[in-house]
Amino acid sequence: MDETGAKPKRSGARLCCTCNQRRAALKRPKTLEQICRECFYDVFEEEIHQVIVTNQLFKPGERVALGASGGKDSTVLAYVLSKLNKKHNYGLDLFLLSVDEGITGYRDDSLETVKRNEIQYGLPLKIISYKDLYGWTMDEIVKVIGLKNNCTFCGVFRRQALDRGAAFLKVDKLVTGHNADDIAETVLLNILRGDIARLSRCTSITTGEDGPIPRCKPFKYTYEKEIVMYAYFKRLDYFSTECIYSPNAYRGFAREFIKDLERIRPRAILDIIKSGENFRISTTTKMPEQGTCERCGYISSQKWCKACVLLEGLNRGLPKLGIGKGRISVNDSEDRNGSDRGKSIASKQCGTLDF
């Protein structure tokens, strides 16, 4: 690991505000402190440790799967979590879990990164593919449906694929690399979409505790800038190419807005998360009831889960089935919760959100 490539310090270089000895290497967005590389590693890891401890994310002896895409967040998460697990004796059995959506030139390349991570961090890897689970790759789906709603399919399928992979690995928990910027972005998106159900869930550090496999986000308060700086300084091996099918324009606008806010006032990211946390839903609001899909048994508030509806559409040659507020729907005919279900918040289209 080459960590000394830089030129010797130049006159007037600022010193680290923590150790007062070494040259500062970055400005922390969270605190605006100038800090050197070594002190940054310490505080970065320690803050994540504190988040894990304070929120009691894990219990000793648990099997934990890390959703690994090969991107920066999950790569840094795999590195930091395996380090903390050793350092603080969490007693966790860690696994890497990757989803192969079947996207040539994108996921096949990023999976190579995950395979290297498997060796670098000594964590067993399980890859679960859309083709095996659903009989379709994203390449095949895009051929049928085009580039309009492909992210809906992918988002719905991925969520379920991760759960199925986690069940296969018999893990107690699934952790994902969602960072503070992602969560702030999702808070905004859920407000813009009026999706109250997701708004109240998206800031929770742990979700799905009522379901088979709870998910948690140890990077909930970790800035993307610090994750990328950490990966850069440590020369971690990650993959950074945008998905070839995903302009995902709507999320892109929210993302750009968050980044603009961060430039003016970096604290804005934590403030938005805080606002999201403080949202309270009036007790009279009708929330969707959680049940199970009649077809595949996955959790669903409808007769069929979203993945089964989408899949049915694909297999019947009606790929618009289940997209948006279309008139044809499997769930409309025999609705389990009465006729006003179609207007409830559960019918909002937000398949691309992973929260």
């Binding site: 970055l26 992602d182 993307e224 990328v228 850069y232 998905c243 961060e262």
Partner: protein, 100 residues
């Protein structure tokens, strides 16, 4: 003439023919004898960025979400656009905007 090493990462390399490291010679701009980051960004945009310049720049600075390091130091500590460059400096641009 100033010799600089420029490195593009986090997906930004795709905007300059998938080449991550560029060893370049840049002249101080506007008849001045020094080069600042503001001048370098304009130079990079003209000479290295081959597609989608909006992924790299917004206005006269980098697009929010692009990290800049001069000699492995966050440019937010050295004055951002006003950071002055010296011969043999290493400037790194990393996009944080690609998936996690």
């Amino acid at each position: 003439m100033m010799q600089l090493t420029l490195e593009f990462g986090g997906g930004l390399e795709l905007l300059c023919e998938s080449k991550k490291i560029h060893n370049v010679n840049v002249e101080p701009q506007n008849g001045s004898d020094k080069l600042i980051m503001k001048d370098l960004l304009a130079w990079v945009r003209t000479n290295l960025i081959k597609e989608r310049p909006e992924m790299f720049m917004k206005g006269d600075t980098v697009r929010p979400g692009v990290l800049v390091l001069v000699n492995d130091c966050d440019w937010e500590l050295s004055g951002q656009l006003n950071t002055s460059l010296e011969d043999k400096d290493v400037v790194v641009f990393i996009s944080t905007l690609h998936g996690g």
